[in-house]
Symmetry: C2
Subunit: 663 residues, 2 copies
């Protein structure tokens, strides 16, 4: 345990590295690293279980910097404790293009960055997934292999964001007692004192959702230590409200919003050096301080070695399974199970909603993959996310596979990201597609991080009927396709549903959204094909007959049925027509040019039909292509009324195409 | 005051109308109307200030059904109290296409529907705007003209959504004591008991944010009345936690999730008729019950007449101003002020960020319009939303014009919607454009309702630099343009900023988003033109010289500067080139075909340059058009590094165009 003086010097090393890096970058947020250096020093030198030289150790504690703008706190810690990814040069290159030390912590840039943070509240909501993932894996593999804490550092902004309430109430409900959140209670936001816009008693709020709450002086090392020890003994998640001074040490700017998001300036930094007795050059860390930090970084090596020894003694099958799951590899049985299932579908030709065929596919998948963890934001029966293998995870039983996320779409998506990042599990969760808008900030982060979160979005168009325009996605397919590195699947029948699920599972570095219907759809894939046709993104489902295609009809999901009927009408009128099903345009655009050109084809008339807006389809059909879909919001009515009212019918498609053929 | 028996019969009229309408539609949510009929009956017969025959009376109390799926509660009340828009036929046409009685309450379908609800939590967050709007107008026009309550009925789902926390904490901070929220505490969500996913002590949570809280039996009329009276005396907003039985009266389904979202079925309805002693045919309301309800609907007529008398006695100028503001009409001075300002800009040619020129335009606007109410989600200095005329609204002074919304983007957007719906004010509010993702559910509702909320989204591209990809919009322009009835403006300089602001203010039925830069931009409009060129959505900013245009470059915002430089390069190489600035593609697509065709033009090469994704641009440039922009997420670095790294430069544009010209 460091002496108080040693503690202060170690904490000041964080402060000055942060100040210096931000000053050099002329950009960044010094206030948090300076204010939270004491908390971080106590946590990293005395409690956090990690081994800087083996940073991916599965049973490490996780540290989540939810207040991501304080990134220099994390980078300083990683450098000081000896993570190899973060060298002093990286610190000096803070916020420069190509550095590992981006403006906000970016998952994948360096070991020790457990998740990407910056959009406020995301980290604390991720942490619910981390902490739950730990319990799930603990239930599967026991204390010997899985027994770690999730520590979070959150700011006022994280707690003001609504997502925090979803996270807090879910964590409290699930009694995630290994989740320990520090609140950097400095009463400063960008506009000024937090009291400009908030007077919430945060501890009371957390307590209302079943949290253990503690209040401490965030600059008192022993108080910090005592709070961590108390938190670790709690049977509930713990909030440690740590009263801090933002920009601690800066003589004129500490405690004000001036230190929040701008470099301190040379004069203030010089004055801070003087005030804190830090007589070193910029970026210089005195040897004895660095040594102490490096010792802290090596502190966990023995624990890690002991853990590896335990792992080595585990039954070989169990060990292989643990390692497979933590590596995110799929079990060998999946392909055959999907193939068998597709064969059965080709025989059965079920006419079911794709939300139902998604459930049917999940029934197969969940039978083979013990690592899938399902859930829904209180729409289980509508999203069809629960299968025979999954029962509710409760505070008394983390050994199950279904999460009742509650009416918390954003909290769900963020917790799913945390589960995926923790490792060992593959999360999927459902809501109505219209409410992907609520979940969007976390869905975007899944894409940015490149993780395997799978979002099940049912009721994907006006086809949901009477609930009306507040519940009817219109722009959502376009808006989700717009997100980089995000696969939006819209299967047309049970076979495509199975194929899309298979791709979603196999795509480790890209999250997926499955857009699924409420209404029943006929089988459009009626013969078994071994190849996963959906993996091309789009493919010819029905060829033209009687000559070169005069018309190509592109469609997705529920409109493939309409496209096929329109093709029949056109063929009946002597116009050879083909149908391209496009279950995933994102993947289609990644195909080689020859395949894309062949699939789009050269028919005189190109029509796309989708019960959404046109945006994005011009790239397929051209500006002179025909589009049959929506131009505005939907309406409340029966599905039959709505498709007729909005003119999304086979007759309309055929008529439009014929008009163009004759025009 | 009705006797208990009379109360019960009046409440049962709501229950049976709701059951019958849902049964006839074979779709809907009977649980809430049955469970909350007692609350609604007490509120509407004894407290709510309204006049069913003059439903738009400015000083009426507002009733917000936040739990919008319980729409039949509201429709029953509107029919029973005698609102002319909701006839018995409308009740019978519940959820049918073209009816006023949509699946969820749709603003504009009928008087008495104060806001569109359905996405959970939106109504309670709107209500903060309603209640604040009341206080702002009260401060401007006094108790004689403005003195009313905002009542909300919220369900468990509303309170589980994170947005509720943003609403609660903001309302508590602002001490909106005329805001009274009933919580329909029935412990049932769609998946089952709320305790499947939540154990929050809601009263304690509200209390933590400074609310007055009361707990009552939601089926006891006198307890309901006493709570309302106590709430009206409070100096804080009030939560009335009303313990209810969902589906009250249904013998076998009440108190379970079976009654939440499905028709009861003929047998259960028959049994409910028996249990509640209701011997009438479907949709039949006995005369004496209807009479009592109609009397309740006429209860406010005298109060309304007295208010009109007071209004008549007000100073004519003040009265005209009140009526102008409530009508949402702009003052006469705006056009001239903008024209004068544009003349000055043509002289000054300021090189400023568009977030700054937005502020400059607002400085002009706020000087002419007393009704603009600004704000920011804790990014005031970054969003440039505060002008010399606006100071912070505080619980002690509602007579100001600036709202520190706190770090609550979604709560801000929803409160803005409430302000706009209340009337008398025009709300604008800012955050970083990337965090439009948080605000999106409320922005969509603004579009669906067709109201004048103005969203100021700064830091609109990689041009924000070092904060990196979590803060850099890439897909957001496309994703927001995808929303129907939503104008996305991206001005290129100070003149376009002023023009876009003018359009946003003049567009009463469409909300606007202004996408604004962090970085400085030169003036591209250097001579005064009276016409608002941006009102065409896109227009030729620079013509080709020396012949027909070989190249047309389309650009928006910060990339117009790049387009102009690329044009210079091309002209210098002997290629006549023109530039089209497109400050609002949404509006451009509404222009007549001739204008669109002329603006797009017939140049051999069409290039679009925008620091976002291509999606949506194919419609302008064609599938063979060139696009210079982003294909994935941004990165952390300086603005110069980033534009060069991602190849968004004048040289790249010119080179691509020349490659095509020579190709």
């Amino acid at each position: 345990m460091p002496s108080r003086e040693q503690h202060d010097r170690m904490a000041n090393a964080i402060r000055f590295l942060s100040m210096d890096a931000i000053e050099k970058a002329n950009s960044g947020h010094p206030g948090l690293p300076m204010g939270c250096a004491d908390i971080a020093t106590v946590l990293f030198t005395r409690y956090l279980k990690f081994d800087a030289k083996k940073p991916h150790w599965a049973d490490r504690d996780r540290f989540i910097l939810s207040a991501g703008h304080g990134s220099m706190l994390l980078y300083s810690l990683l450098y000081l404790t000896g993570y190899e990814d973060i060298t002093l040069d990286e610190i000096k290159n803070f916020r420069q293009l190509g550095s590992r030390t981006a403006g906000h912590p970016e998952y994948g840039h360096a070991a020790g960055i457990e998740t990407t943070t910056g959009p406020l509240g995301q980290g604390i909501a991720n942490s619910v997934g981390f902490a739950l993932g730990e319990r799930i894996m603990n239930a599967a593999f026991g204390n010997d292999l899985v027994d770690h804490y999730t520590y979070v550092l959150a700011g006022d902004g994280c707690l003001m964001e609504g997502i925090s309430q979803e996270a807090i109430s879910l964590a409290g409900h699930l009694k995630l007692n290994k989740l320990i959140v520090f609140w950097d209670d400095n009463n400063i936001s960008i506009d000024g004192p937090v009291t400009l816009s908030d007077n919430t008693d945060q501890a009371a709020r957390f307590a209302a959702s079943g949290w253990n709450t503690l209040k401490i002086d965030g600059h008192d090392p022993e108080a910090i230590a005592a709070a961590i020890e108390a938190a670790r003994k709690s049977d509930r998640p713990t909030l440690i409200a740590a009263k801090t001074t933002i920009g601690f040490g800066a003589p004129t700017k500490a405690g004000t919003n001036k230190v929040h998001g701008s470099p301190l300036g040379a004069d203030e930094i010089a004055a801070t050096r003087k005030a804190l007795g830090w007589s070193y050059e910029p970026f210089e860390v005195p040897a004895e301080v660095l040594d102490a930090w490096r010792a802290a970084g090596a502190r966990g090596a023995q624990t890690r070695a002991a853990w590896e020894e335990r792992l080595g003694k585990v039954d070989a099958g169990q060990r292989a399974e643990f390692e497979r799951r933590m590596a995110g590899a799929l079990p060998a049985g999946l392909d055959k199970a999907i193939a068998d299932y597709k064969k059965k579908l080709a025989e059965d030709k079920p006419k079911v909603a794709t939300r139902k065929s998604s459930e049917m596919a999940l029934e197969v998948i969940n039978g083979v993959l013990p690592e899938t963890i399902g859930g829904s934001a209180d729409l289980t029966g509508s999203n069809n996310t629960k299968t025979s293998q999954t029962r509710a995870i409760t505070p008394d039983n983390y050994g199950e596979r279904y999460i009742h996320y509650g009416i918390r779409e954003l909290g769900m998506a963020a917790a799913m990201n945390g589960l995926a990042l923790h490792g060992g599990v593959i999360p999927y969760g459902g809501t109505f597609m219209c409410f992907s808008d609520y979940a969007r900030p976390a869905m975007r982060l899944a894409s940015l991080m490149g993780i395997r979160s799978i979002f099940v979005m049912t009721h994907d168009s006006i086809g949901l009927g009477e609930d009306g325009p507040t519940h009817q996605p219109v722009e959502h397919l376009a808006a989700l396709r717009a997100v980089p590195n995000h696969n939006v699947f819209r299967p047309a029948d049970a076979t495509e549903s199975a194929e899309c699920w298979q791709i979603a599972l196999e795509t480790e570095k890209t999250p997926s959204t499955l857009a699924l219907t409420r209404q029943n759809l006929p089988a459009v894939r009626t013969t078994y094909v071994e190849e996963n046709l959906s993996a091309r993104g789009a493919y010819e489902l029905a060829a033209a007959e009687g000559g070169e295609a005069a018309v190509t009809i592109f469609a997705t999901g529920s409109e493939v049925e309409i496209a096929l009927k329109a093709r029949d009408l056109l063929q009946g009128h002597g116009h050879p027509a083909r149908v391209v099903s496009a279950p995933c345009l994102d993947i289609f655009w990644q195909q080689d040019e020859a395949y894309r050109a062949a699939t789009i084809g050269t028919a005189k008339v190109k029509v796309a039909v989708e019960a959404g807006i046109r945006q994005g389809w011009d790239a397929v059909i051209g500006t002179d292509g025909l589009f049959v879909g929506m131009t505005g919001f939907g309406a409340s009515g029966t599905i039959e009324q709505l498709y007729a009212h909005f003119g999304i019918t086979a007759e309309a498609v055929a008529k439009a195409a014929e008009g163009r053929l004759h025009g």
